[in-house]
Amino acid sequence: MTKTVTTRQLILILVLSVVTLKVLFLPNVLASNIGRDGYIMLLFLLLVDFLNLLILLYLLNKYKDMTFSQILNTLFGKAISKVILFLLALFFLSRCFVRFQTNFIYLNENLYTAFEWYIFAFPILICVIFCIKQGTKVYARLCEIFMPVVIFGFLVALVVGIFRADFTNALPFLENGLGFIMSSHRYSVWFGDYFVLILFFGKIKIERKFNVKVVVSLLITIVLIALFYAVFYFTYNYNSVCHINAISDIMQFLPSVSDIGSFDWILILIWDIALFLDFTLSVMLVNFLFCEVFNIHKHKIIVTIVSLIIIVAFNYAINFNIFLSMTIYRDYIFAFNILIQAGLPILLFIFGTAKRRKLNEIPKTQ
């Protein structure tokens, strides 16, 4: 297998998938349900999600030259691996629905409210198809080019927010205890980002200190995301519930008399790039997983087009209403999400370690 993705590219792709949506709508959802201590919930969920990354890294290090479907075949056999791949394909398809909606809502609210969905949809879909056709190497290169800009935008918003936030709003600390942690399953739709790693299994050029670089970069990202929520809430306090689009609002609607909002459009454009890249990544994964399930090696583009048609049809059916789709996820699909996000990594870890023991045992018996 050709190693096409470098460590740096992989880190940037992981950061992209973790950050993009968590600084858009999630802060508003957490502020509405938890409020002041929402950053603790976010930190908790990010760290739980981080365990998935550690398990996937463990598999990646163990089976350096194998693709994800080959690993599943080795661990579970062909039939079960197909089922797992199919479930993962559905998982990523559901993530595509949200990401497509987010693209539309973001452009619609921030750029031009008279936008019809097809005005933005066609160009984006054409770009996505083109990007997927070019393969993971081109995608990784795109991320390498654009991610520094996206990270810059995120840091600018964070720094601007830090200067405006009133950190005493964190007090009284944990006034109502930690009971809110019990409702963490409601937010499962926003997590499970590290599974994007499965697309790059067998394609990564593993360099020196690969694990340390990935783990440290992602831990820093996690801390910054939690800090971003804290800054968002401590800036707007009770008004946070009115600010749906956190990354844009933190620049545009600062409780300030300055004209810093004038720079908001730069951030909007930057975040559009991040949303596009994130959506493309999810579609790539759907494409990859369905092709693996149905053994499609030629005409993969047809799978992409069919997936995109399903995504557009779903969004058209619910009228691009992100709150409706969030309610559907929260009330009906959360169990499936938890199965994938918690059950699958545990299975992978157990079977992965068990397999190693067998491998270790084989030479002894021989």
Binding site: Y112, T113, L171, N239, C242
Partner: protein
């Protein structure tokens, strides 16, 4: 074609152009369908609201700002009516000020503001300002200055008083306060008065007349043709809103006392009357407060709450009024503050703080955020203290205010 065949990216760009160009070239300008509202006035008379909208008319005309009014049973109904009459949808993304009159705030102010709060493009950075009689008059006067209202509010001085820009409260502040524990906010009170000065001089406000727009006004509001000369009066008075209703209006001296609790107000003056020492005899001395460092700490002693306000004030003399002229007053070395003069300043500041304290204790309004300070930094003790009261509303009464004031001379 062969070139295109070998450069797939060009095909994508071409497809994008072919798809996007016909769809976007025909989109109308947003200003053709949206009205750019820069200020909203809310007047209530009886059960009816009269809404005045100050809006921007794109073009090269000198009078780019217009003001129109319309009546309705609610704010939403009035604005919807206005949209129908004017033929454009009112856009509030550029709205910077909401003015409401006393009658609107005497009722439920939330009722008046709810429509605006729910507008998606509302920035929460809109300043809220109260006026005693008519928001419509105020907006009309501002419109004639051909300057957006918030620019006027941000000017260093409107009628020769202090800069109140820092003390202006925004829509976001209002909802944060009303949704929080305190539910009490002080908003600036700005009025319109007849300008009796002849000739106008160099006062920009005196040029303001009550001419009004003839566009878009369907109720006749703002179509007064008489040329009365009016000026905007910003004397620093404040309206106290508690639980979405106007509690009282503080006049300029009372507001000035309260401002000593507000760390955001930078530009202040202080007057010590009939001061006597070796250098100044029977003088009314005015000081400019150059810098003010404020620190608030809260603590409990034997279950009793204490609110300590520490102030470090840098002042300089800007005027000493007296009957006779003494040369020693102008000798630079003599300009050093004596301890007695510093003490006089401290006494005066304490006097103002005590007046403000007795006022907000008597009228039970917590605009200095006592509740939040105790709740954040002494949460458990404060809860215990609140439980010992028969009603949370009386929590201010037993708080002891301690003032630690240091005065320094600023050169």
């Amino acid at each position: 074609m062969r070139y295109l065949k070998h450069n797939k990216i060009l095909i994508v760009i071409l497809v994008l152009f072919v798809v996007m160009f016909p769809m976007t070239i025909s989109l109308p300008q947003q200003s053709r369908s949206e009205n750019i509202v820069t200020a909203i006035g809310i007047d209530k008379s009886g059960e009816e609201y009269e809404i005045s909208l100050q809006y921007l008319v794109p073009g090269s005309s000198d009078k780019a700002l217009k003001c129109s009014s319309i009546k309705g049973k609610s704010v939403g109904e009035a604005i919807e009516k206005f949209n129908l009459d004017y033929g454009k949808v009112s856009g509030f993304a550029h709205c910077r000020v909401i003015v409401f009159n006393n009658e609107a705030s005497d009722g439920n102010l939330n009722e008046a503001l709810d429509y605006i709060q729910r507008i998606k493009t509302n920035t929460n950075n809109i300043f809220i300002v109260s006026t005693e009689k008519s928001a419509k008059d105020l907006l009309s006067s501002v419109k004639d200055l051909n300057s957006e209202f918030y620019v006027i509010l941000s000017r260093d001085s409107v009628t020769g008083q202090h800069n109140h820009y820092e003390s202006l409260k925004s829509f976001g502040d209002y909802y944060n306060t009303m949704l929080g524990n305190v539910k009490c906010i002080a908003v600036n009170n700005i009025n319109v008065e007849q300008d009796n000065s002849s000739g106008g001089g160099n006062n920009a406000q005196s040029e303001a007349t009550n001419e009004s727009s003839s566009q878009g006004s369907s109720s006749g509001g703002g179509q007064n043709s008489e040329h009365e000369s009016k000026k905007i009066k910003n004397d620093g008075s404040l309206t106290i809103i508690k639980d979405n209703k106007r509690l009282l209006t503080l006049d300029s001296p009372a507001s000035d006392c309260l401002n000593w609790f507000n760390s955001k107000i930078k530009d202040m003056t202080l007057k010590v009357l009939n001061y006597n020492d070796d250098i100044y005899q029977n003088c009314d001395i005015t000081f400019d407060v150059y810098k003010r460092f404020t620190n608030v700490s809260t603590y409990f002693v034997n279950g009793k709450p204490f609110y300590k306000l520490s102030l470090v004030v840098d002042v300089t003399i800007i005027e000493a009024v007296k009957e006779s002229l003494e040369i020693k007053e102008f000798i630079p070395a003599n300009n050093l503050f004596s301890d007695k003069l510093k003490q006089a300043v401290v006494t005066e500041i304490k006097h103002k703080l005590t007046l403000a304290e007795s006022n907000f204790k008597t009228n039970k309004y917590d605009v200095v955020n006592c509740y939040e300070h105790f709740n954040k930094f002494n949460n458990k003790q404060f809860k215990h203290y609140l439980q010992s009261l028969k009603d949370d509303e009386y929590f201010l009464e037993d708080i002891t205010f301690v003032y630690d004031i240091t005065v320094r001379q600023w050169d």
